[in-house]
Symmetry: C2
Subunit: 452 residues, 2 copies
């Protein structure tokens, strides 16, 4: 990666004066409550994000986990400079009625080439929320058709039925109104917005490392699974049958909460048993960061899901689904953006050519090992280091300390993100190599020493 910088370089505090000026400017136009700083994307390279004050940071957050192979990757620049691709950017089609000639071919090259096990169909969408909204609709439509066949007496009246989606405490699936009814990572997300009466199951609260607490964890998972079945029965009795179950393989916004493959296998079986669709939301976990392309591949199942949604690192939103969940009524004007498929096809080429899943596995091991060591060193400060690939997290003593660590790390040129009540999540790009891990661990270690 000769095009990358050789380390962080900090010139000002962050946000610096130029960022502050621009934030004030933008504040005249939009709410800027969440703005961190402004970026110079032209100068950013690989794992390094450069801000408008000339600060260069090692990026272990990557735009909320949505930059797959680093900034300004030369292969992506090439996609842009190829005159054959021009028209995909300039003429955005209504994909559902008049797709471009190369659309099937580009879908095959990009999304289908990494389709999850058992799935050969995919629908693109413009963003993660739309992906989940439409996946829910596909499950509702599928559920009615399926159950109409067997229980025609209670489904005779066409219209808007009281079907429900079962979701989990701590889950995050987006913020549009259907998605929001299944999002429970922070109360503030849902405040003031009408919602549906849908069941919410507990997500297992496990002890880490998982392999040291197998017995307790198995008990906790059994408790949650029992509750899931109870809720499905309750909601059926209420007249709001559970058409689908939605879950993240690792609850990301909610605090990087893991569960074991055994939990997911049993949950999948419960969905089968009760005739509900099983929707795995890979918006944040998908795209390679766990060391497999899809996090749910770690479960080792042949038939892991009925629907798998994605966005972020995939550059386009959308969802894969089984044949039986296709629906003519999943439709909108754009249905995605074919220019994003061009980039994704090239990202996948880079992942294969540079063996990035192996790279992630290697970097991830080093990262988790380093986190374990720091946790041993600072037992009052750190706990529950956990992760798959580079998709790692660690808990900090309390919220205030966590936030202080995030800011101090940034001052030293390392960009991190929080999640849950008091976790730090690590979300580097797939090009984050072992030497980047060491660079990060050195800075992190210094910051922790200041907080002990």
């Amino acid at each position: 990666m000769e095009f990358e910088y050789d380390g962080p370089s900090m010139k000002t505090e962050v946000p610096g004066p130029r960022s502050k000026e621009l934030t004030k400017q933008l504040g005249e136009i939009q709410n800027v409550g969440a703005i961190n700083f402004f970026c110079n994307y032209e100068e950013s390279r690989g794992n390094y994000l450069v801000d408008v004050d000339g600060n260069r940071m090692l990026d272990v957050y990557t735009q909320i986990s949505s930059i797959p192979i680093g900034y300004n990757h030369p292969s992506l620049i090439k996609v842009m400079s190829n005159p054959n691709n021009m028209s995909a950017f300039v003429n955005r089609p209504a994909l559902g009625i008049m797709p471009p000639e190369n659309f099937p071919e580009k879908l095959a090259e990009s999304l289908l080439s990494v389709a999850p096990s058992g799935m050969s169909r995919v629908q693109t969408m413009a963003c993660g929320s739309c992906s989940n909204e439409n996946a829910y609709k596909a499950m509702f439509i599928w559920y009615r058709v399926k159950h109409l066949l067997f229980q025609s007496n209670i489904f005779l009246n066409p219209g808007c039925p009281d079907f429900s989606i079962l979701s989990f405490m701590g889950g995050f699936h987006g913020r549009t109104m259907g998605c929001l009814a299944t999002t429970h990572s922070k109360a503030i997300h849902k405040l003031d917005v009408p919602s549906f009466d849908w069941p919410i199951a507990p997500f297992p609260k496990l002890k880490y490392p998982l392999e040291e607490f197998t017995r307790e964890n198995a008990q906790e998972e059994a408790r949650c699974l029992e509750e899931v079945e109870d809720l499905i029965v309750q909601w059926r009795q209420k007249g709001r049958p559970v058409a689908g179950i939605v879950i993240e393989p690792i609850q990301a916004e909610g605090g990087d909460n893991h569960a074991t493959p055994d939990f997911f296998k049993k949950l999948r079986n419960i969905a089968h048993k009760h005739g509900s669709a099983f929707h795995v939301d890979e918006v944040q976990t998908g795209g390679g960061a766990t060391g497999k392309f899809w996090a749910h591949e770690h479960w080792g199942m042949d038939d892991p899901a009925d629907i798998v949604s994605f966005s972020k690192k995939m550059l386009t939103g959308g969802f894969y689904h089984k044949d039986e969940l296709q629906a003519y009524r999943i439709f909108n004007t754009w249905m995605g953006d074919p220019s994003k498929n061009l980039f994704l096809a090239e990202v996948l080429n880079v992942i294969r050519r540079e063996n990035l899943l192996e790279e992630v596995t290697r970097s991830g091991k080093t990262l988790l090992q380093g986190l374990y060591q720091l946790q041993d060193q600072y037992p009052n400060l750190l706990s529950s280091a956990r992760g798959q690939g580079t998709f790692c997290a660690i808990d900090i003593r309390d919220d205030a300390t966590r936030n202080s660590i995030l800011l101090k790390a940034r001052d030293k040129g390392v960009l991190l993100g929080g999640c849950g009540d008091r976790s730090i999540r690590f979300r580097p790009a797939l090009v984050f190599k072992e030497y980047h891990v060491h660079m990060f661990l050195n800075v992190f270690s210094d910051v922790l020493a200041e907080h002990n």
Copy 2:
């Protein structure tokens, strides 16, 4: 427009053999129930869409009204070829936390330069549905804050309240779950999907031309407005107060239903009186096709709306809003796509440089005049010609005849779309000139002669 073709040119039936082959291919991946044909966007120019079988059609539908200045406009190609713009395409940021340096400037150049009266704030979103979903959320949050001040007794419990959005029969606002609860253009859109108990008011069914039926139309509008007030009171009594009213200036998907400026003024006053926000959905009407940049400008009001949403021809989704409707909690990962703002800024330059709003007004007059003449000529076939600018429509005797006319016109090289039960809608790009109108009218006239 030297870069354009000089007329339609048909080589095969549509869809031709290559389109059929590709549809079969895509059918292995997606539902293709809505596919018309596949396009060669590289060869498409200006008002002419070229398909993969070499058929060149005059496009009066423009990807469901979403191509502002025709295909492959040289100015948009230039945006792509400018190396300074490269990084906006290659590094998609999380706009809500780390925007690019030129983001405020590009917003000012693009969206703010055409902001509706009374609005200086704008939030971008990835598509039309997300724009409306988030506009609804902004209204809910605003409503609670506003009413908390005055009626704190009934709003003490934070959580998900039973607020509602009042919408209109025949309205279309998107297909995600919040939007879908306000969409009533076709029953099939809503089938099988859970919805909210929100009030739905009648939209005036007017007689055209409006100026010939002022008395009847005024009565019909008064009836609808009365019903709106009744519903607002009823829903308040139900404990589901109306936080916002959403309406299109011209109901597009629902059949190009118009109402008079007087209706909208009175509706706006009702919103004021009852403390509900007023949301004008300009997703299809916005961007210049009515001869003004926003269709609601035809109402001639200083304070027409609290929220105006857009997408399609604007190339980016989003919504303008008054200061008091800003909300920190309107957030997602991408919050739009800054590369689309670059294209929009250039589209607006072209609109100004080429006086396209005047062009649209001129072409629209010729188009409507032509439709009136055809309607006089074929009174048993055509009725209710109507329109603003080139945003025109006409009713056909019945659904089957409408669909036959659409296909026959396509065979002769003119691409049209239907809307409502039996209307044809005209949605050319802003570069549709008077000679294109004449070309269209000639073909249309031939097709009508075959159906008389």
